[in-house]
Symmetry: C2
Subunit: 238 residues, 2 copies
DNA sequence: CGCTAAAAGTTGTATAGTACAACCCACAAA
DNA sequence: TTTGTGGGTTGTACTATACAACTTTTAGCG
């Protein structure tokens, strides 16, 4: 290895992309945007994760950049946001060596379609079981999205992550439903309740009437910044 | 947001750093290297994580770059290597906006000091309880190192990660010792064994005599690429 | 006004997986 | 041959939970 005293060498592109999850219509969905149609752009017209180049003048750091990109697409300014990982290689972008820092966000389901935010790019929600076909996304976004889904599903087994997919206050049956949707299987009601309440991360917020037959207790997260980690996973006795 | 048709805008620096862990002398240790002493370099003479700029000509992707940097420092070519995360901001490097992709590696303890690899940089192993003082590392490497330690310790609670810190074949008592060193607390022998064997990720490799009084069964990992995830954490009855 | 359906929430039981502790076993050194 | 040390096993108590049956509270309706 040579010691580099000069900084005069080629630099890769630096990007930030965001995988935005929400539960809409009882299904886990992801927000995708369409690439511009100009033939001069890579992957014109293809669906892609929202994101783009870091702007060294505007973005103080990677997280701020991710928050900016998320806000531009959803007008949501304080979602749950965690770093997923980074992908970089000389091949992933035809324009040259590029590396993207990927975050994943969990937001409460908006009923309306995504805000167009004044910018021309189309955006759309895609249920995970109805994604654009394999290899259909731009760049390596197929692979990134798979990694995000895997991370989400595995963390849902042993954390309170799904709580970030609901607007507050939410009830325990609602929360359980989200767990079942993300995990793709039924969860026992009794065990679920004792576990959630035992972890002591929820604050009561009064009974929620009107939603169902009998009013259910509403809860808020005591700390919206970080999920709670359970000491065990949910283990059905197969 | 403007659509960027031109690629003529400033790019951040792109780096890769590696946090290399090993257990030596019954303590968890990290490999650090000294920054060059030139006053023109940032943080001259300070300890830092091994790493540096991505070389767009040599490095096919981020992982390859991390492997290269690790090999240059340790001459080890197939350790356990996983991505830790990335850190990027306009402030972390005085030379300008920079982003580093950080990997963490677990290697079997080398008895010899780190290979100097022909390059002048000094390198040294530091036990976690005897690190250079707070704020002593270059860049934001203090923060990165703390994150790496946190990730390692939390994953050790519920994965087979410590197995990558031992040369094969290893015995269960040896493996248990590594768990105890990393976790910083005693682990029950009986429970440890049943758990490890129940997870079915070890292959017997014959009795290892000479190590202790009574020969112990040696084991090899069935799959050296990925750690095994346990359904529960170790939970002493406080 | 009471009956009924449906969802919220509770209670009870069997069981799996350990934490803890006491034990036996194989070898090496004296 | 004895003895010490670490490897490995066995046995018991306990805890969380999976599963299932149950009670409670409301809305809707005749």
């Amino acid at each position: 290895m040579k010691t580099r005293t000069s900084l005069d060498f080629p630099r890769p592109f630096t990007l930030v992309d965001v995988v935005i999850f929400a539960v809409r219509a009882d299904r886990l969905q992801v927000l995708l945007v369409r690439r511009p149609a100009h033939e001069s752009d890579p992957f014109p017209g293809r669906w892609a994760l929202p994101g783009g180049f870091v702007d060294v003048a505007r973005d103080a750091d990677l997280l701020a950049c991710a928050q900016r990109k998320l806000f531009e697409k959803t007008a949501i300014d304080s979602p749950y946001l965690e770093q997923l990982g980074s992908w970089g290689s000389m091949r992933r972008d035809p324009r040259g060596w590029s590396a993207t820092h990927v975050y994943f966000a969990l937001i409460a389901a908006p009923d309306a379609p995504p805000a167009e935010g004044g910018n021309a790019a189309q955006a759309g929600w895609f249920p995970l079981d109805a994604l654009p076909g394999r290899r259909a996304l731009a760049f390596d976004h197929d692979e990134i999205l798979r990694a995000a889904i895997e991370r989400l599903q595995s963390k849902v087994e042993y954390t309170s992550l799904p709580a970030f997919l609901l607007p507050e206050p939410f009830t325990l049956p609602q929360l359980q439903r989200i767990y079942e949707i993300v995990l793709g299987r039924a969860v026992d009601k009794s065990g679920f309740r004792t576990r959630m309440l035992a972890m002591d991360f929820l604050d009561e917020a009064g009974y929620q009437s009107g939603e169902a037959k009998r009013p259910a207790m509403g809860y808020r997260l005591r700390d919206r910044r970080v999920p709670v980690v359970f000491p065990r996973t949910f283990n059905p006795r197969r």
